[in-house]
Each structure stands twice: as C-alpha cells, then as structure tokens.
C-alpha cells in the first residue's frame, strides 16, 4: 500500500510542474508587459523598459518560468498585481479559504444528496422514487449553474424575501450559493449511482447470493452496494471540475469574496499576475484532491489493494 502512495506522490511533483508550466505558458501569450501595466499608459518608455528589465521580463521563457516557480516556492512571492499594485499573495490568501470552504461543502452536499437518491432510484426502479428524481436530474443538467443561482435568487431573495442576495456575514448568505454549487453535481451523482447500482444488480454474483438464501435487503446492502459505490467514488472526484466551475461562477453571481470572483473581476483589467496566481493555486488544490481520491479508491477496492500489498499466490 505504501508503495502505491509513494508512487503517486512522486508523480505529483512533475504533475504540478506540468500544470504550472501550461498555465504560465498560456498566460505568457497575453499581450502587454508588466512595466506598461504597472507604471501606466503615460509613463516614459525608458522607465517601462527599466522596470521590465528589473523583473527579468526580457529573459528567455524557461528562465522566467523557473524564476517564477522559485519565487513561489521559496518566498511565496507571486509578484505584484497590475491593478492594485499590491503583492498578489496578500490579496489572494484571505480569499482562498472561502473558496475552499464553498467547494468542500459543495462536494459533501452533492454526495449526500445525490448518492442516496441514486440508490433509492435503482432499488425502487420505475416508481416515483425513480421517475421524479430522474426527471429533475434531466432538467438540472440543462441549467447552467449561474442560471440556477439567478433563479434561486429570484425566488428566495426577490419574491419571498427570505435570503440575502449578496455579501457575506451570516449563514443565510451562504445558503443559496451552496445550493447553486451543489445541486448540479448532486444530479450527476444521482444518475451515476443509479446506473452503477443497476449495472451491479444484473451481475451473476447477485444470483449466487440469492441462491444462498439471502434476503433481498442483504443482497442490496451487502453485495450490490459495496460494488456499486466503488466507481461512484471516482465519479465524485471527476465531478470536482464541474464543482470548481460552479464555485467560480457562483462567487461572481453572489459577490462572495473568493478566489473565483477575484480572477473573474481582474479579467477585464488583464491583471495577469493575479489571474495566474489564482489559477495555479486552485489547480494545485484540485490536483491534490484528485490524488486523494485515487488513493482512497485504492484503499477501498480490494482488487487494487491486493495488487500492492501482497504478491500473487
């Protein structure tokens, strides 16, 4: 088991470098340079050139990239914002925890809602427990997260006046955002769990269990579920991508001070350093979580676990 974890951790490092390199490379294609952006449109060209030279802007690409990474790792220095002229790290850090919290609660809620509904839909196939959630899941899949948020806003903030539509401060401020983030992945989880369950119920070992004299309840909970939930774990990991997109959009919509809304706000100002830093931080967190999901899966699936814990007999 430890071999597997070590192996994956070792892969983590080149992955992170690969990820940061790709993002850095894309952002490098943005027109404009730091000197002009920070000093302003009217600054003399000589000053701009000097500023750029100081930052090492005229060095070759790879050197710039490695320098950037060095600064991040050793000094937590992400550069200076083109917009506010403040160190990027100071702006980004406080917002980080909000985004992470939203994402974590979102994932948890999506799983807690979606998976049990999926199980119920599979066990009571064709009943209302199946048809209603399935139809709802279908419509939800056709609604973008920001539209969902706006609809929630319309109903609960405007018409019913129950919840506030922007800002932070109390739990109420977070109810609609969390719902908007969690509902689409929940629908996806529900569909996936249902199909995984149905797939497993068809398997031969279920027939063997029945032939042993098992009660239907035991068959479902002990046999089918244990097998059906394995791919669901992976699927929840996969749905993180959608979840992050939802978080970014929802932060913007409900004006919550997270990294997502920061990135989006700075786009119009072409504030490269901030956008770069925000993107890299979220991607690294994402990569780590995916790693966690993989390791968890290896723990719970005995077929994979056995591969790494003992030699084949």
């Amino acid at each position: 088991m430890h071999r597997y974890i070590v192996k994956r951790l070792l892969f983590l490092i080149p992955t992170i470098f690969g990820v940061t390199l790709i993002i850095y490379a894309i952002m490098a294609m943005t027109p404009g340079d730091p000197g002009r952006a920070v000093l302003g449109v009217n600054a003399p060209q000589a000053d701009v050139d000097e500023y750029n030279h100081m930052l090492g802007y005229d060095r070759p690409f790879l050197e710039k990239y490695l320098n950037y990474m060095k600064n991040i790792i050793l000094h937590q220095d992400f550069g200076v914002s083109y917009f506010t002229k403040q160190p990027v790290f100071d702006e980004v850090l406080p917002r980080y925890s909000l985004t992470i919290k939203l994402a974590v609660v979102g994932v948890a809620l999506a799983a807690l809602i979606g998976v049990p509904l999926g199980i119920k839909a599979a066990v009571k196939q064709y009943s209302l427990w199946d048809t209603i959630p399935s139809v709802m899941a279908f419509f939800i899949a056709a609604i973008p997260q920001f539209v969902l948020g706006m609809i929630l806003m319309f109903i609960f903030a405007l018409k019913l006046n129950l919840l506030p539509s922007y800002g932070t401060g109390s739990i109420q401020h977070y109810i609609m955002p969390i719902l908007a983030i969690a509902i689409p992945p929940a629908a996806q989880n529900m569909r996936f769990t249902k199909s995984s369950m149905l797939e497993e119920i068809r398997q031969d070992y279920v027939r063997t269990a029945r032939a042993k004299g098992a009660e239907e309840r035991t068959v479902i909970w002990k046999h089918v579920l244990r097998n059906a939930l394995l791919p669901v774990v992976t699927q929840i990991g996969m749905s993180l991508g959608m979840l992050i997109a939802g978080t970014v959009v929802v932060e913007k919509l409900f004006t919550l001070p997270g990294i997502g809304s920061l990135i989006v706000d700075r786009i119009t100002f072409k504030d490269e350093p901030v956008i770069l830093a925000g993107t890299i931080l979220i991607s690294i967190a994402f990569t780590l979580v995916m790693l966690l999901v993989d390791i968890t899966y290896a723990f719970i699936d005995p077929r994979i676990r056995a591969k790494y814990t003992r030699t084949r007999g």
Partner: protein, 335 residues
C-alpha cells in the same frame, strides 16, 4: 413416493416481455431419487437452466413466470410455500452451482466471508468461532488451504473459484445439489478435477444431484438417471443404462450420440443434427422435433406426441414408439 427427493410434475414456465412470450418449459416431469444423480441433457436453449431456476424460484422476477405444475421436494410443493420459507430452503436444503465461476463470486468480499455468509444465513445460533471452523472445513473439503480464506476471488484461478462456489453450495450440506453446467466454463483438465471433487463430496455426504450438462461424457461418469430435454420438453428419460446401452431412442437422442466424436468407433465425419431448435416464441404444432427429424411422418406435424414407456423407467416422447399410431400408419390412416 418417499424415496424421491424431487418430483416435478407438469412444470410450465414462460418468459413474458412486452413484445413476446417465450415458452421455455412446456410441461415436464422429472423425478430424482434420494441419493441419486439425474443428468439433464440438452442443447443450449432447451430450458435446462430455466428448470433449475424454477426449482429454487429464482427466475427473473420481471419476466419469468411459472404458470403451471408442482415441484415437490420431499413432500412439500415448493411452488406453494411462502417466499420466506423458500429462502430457508435456498442454500440450506437445495443449493445450486452456476456455470461461470469468473462472475459468480462477489469481487469485493473475501472468499471466507462468502462461505461464512451461506452458513450464517441458516445457522444463526452459531458463534463466530464455530462459523469460522466450518468455513475452514469446507475449504479443506474442496481442496483449498483454509489460510486462503482471507483472499479475494480475483486471486484464485478459474478452477479454484469454482471449488469455492461448490464449497458455498455445500456449506450447509444440502439434500439436493443442482449443478448447472458447473464445469463447462473450465479448461478440460481442470474440468476433470473439479468434477472429481464434486463426485467425492456427493458420495461422502449422500447428496442427491441434478446434473445439468450438454456433455454425455459427464453423464456417463456421474449419473444414475438421465433426462434429455429439447425445446422445453423431456423427450427421453430413463436410467443411464437405458440411454447408453439401450437400443430404443428418441430421434433427437440418436442425433446427439451421432454428433459426438467417439474414440472406439471409426468414423469419417460427425453427423450433426441439421437445423436449429425452434423459436420458443413460435413453437411448431405437433412434435417440436419434427422439422429436424429424419423419421418424421405426417402425424408428427399435426399431433403432439404422448409420453410412451418402452421398458421399466425408460420413456420416450415420440410417435414412433406409440403402437397405436404406428399400426395406423401401416394401414395408411391416422386418428
């Protein structure tokens, strides 16, 4: 009456979907004596597995329906008892070994747990240690080291997996064991080993068996009685001597023997039976085998044959052995 462990009468089973009705089993009678082994032979699609599943009432609930008949197990009609009571039978009094060992076991449970489960379902009063001891015994019985009970199915080869399946089936020492093509999916050499294991256990425990197979070799080695199934009907049944040594046979059985390679007789080519089994959604009128039968007469196409006893236990479903009809044939008319 009392030395029969299983007595099936007039069993009819269909599979019904929105589109069509499949007549899988059409009025069969089967008897298995206590401690005896009955071989149920036939091609794929004849209705053998359906019969087996019906005994355990494990047909797919959405489509499978038993529309007629009795399945008497030791004086109890299984078709009339409650589901709860049926569950007590399964794995306990009547057990089944299925065909494909690769998929019959739960991949995420240890082998030991799966055997233990079978024991625990029917012996709730046993302590954990007692159950574990039994699990060890069963594994030894099928020739697997008890220390392997913590391993998962994927860590075993095909033959060993099937042994585990047999251990599960015999965990509660059932009175009747149904083996549905239990060795078909295995390599030939492994087949022989697994078969031997099954036979040893059967002899030791005195279990009655329903051995479903399409392999006459297995029938010859293991069975006391034989029933040949075709298109949902038993076309011939008798003791193993009747079938192998007798000289009166259903044309289908004859065809089956003719299509088996035989080391002792010289032959140039095998003679398969031409054609295919009839479509179970659209069975022919009259005898179901008539379209493929080289002896078929006009009467065969119109009238469904009755079961004729030729000698002792040996009976056939064919007009050729019906004296009345044959004499009418001679005279050139029929009823």
């Amino acid at each position: 009456m009392n030395d029969l462990i299983l007595d099936i009468k007039n069993l009819e089973v269909i599979y019904k979907t929105d589109l069509e009705t499949v007549k899988a089993v059409n009025g069969i009678n089967l008897k298995i004596g206590k401690g005896k082994t009955l071989g149920l032979v036939g091609e794929t699609g004849a209705g053998k597995t359906t019969t087996a599943l019906s005994i355990l009432r494990l047909l797919p609930s959405a489509t499978g329906k038993i529309i007629n008949g009795e399945i008497n197990f030791e004086d109890t009609d299984l078709l009339k008892i409650k589901e709860e009571d049926m569950r007590h039978m399964r794995g306990n009094k009547i057990a089944m070994v299925f065909q494909d060992p690769m998929t019959s076991l739960n991949p995420v449970m240890t082998v030991g747990d799966q055997i233990a489960e079978a024991i625990k379902f029917h012996n709730e009063e046993l302590s954990k240690e007692e159950v574990e001891k039994k699990v060890d015994d069963k594994l030894l019985m099928v020739g697997i080291l008890p220390s392997r009970k913590v391993e998962y199915p994927h860590q075993f080869s095909g033959g060993m997996k099937q042994r585990v399946v047999i251990a599960i089936a015999l965990a509660c020492e059932p009175d009747l064991l149904i083996a549905d093509e239990a060795t078909t999916a295995l390599d030939v050499t492994i087949q022989a080993q697994v078969l031997m294991t099954m036979m040893e256990l059967r002899n030791r425990l005195g279990t009655s068996m329903l051995m479903i197979t399409h392999d006459f070799g297995i029938v010859a080695k293991t069975c006391d009685d034989v029933a040949v199934m075709y298109a949902g009907e038993i076309v011939e049944s008798g003791t193993v001597e009747d079938i192998f040594l007798g000289n009166k046979h259903h044309p289908y059985t004859e065809g089956l023997f003719g299509s088996i390679p035989n080391l002792s007789t010289r032959s140039d080519r095998l003679t398969p039976i031409p054609g295919l089994m009839p479509d179970p959604t659209n069975l022919p009128e009259g005898c179901t085998f008539a379209p493929r039968c080289k002896y078929s007469m006009d009467v065969c196409k119109k009238f469904h044959p009755k079961s004729i006893t030729v000698e002792g236990e040996h009976s056939l479903l064919c007009h050729l052995f019906n004296e009345k009809i044959m004499s009418q044939q001679m005279e050139g008319k029929y009823e």
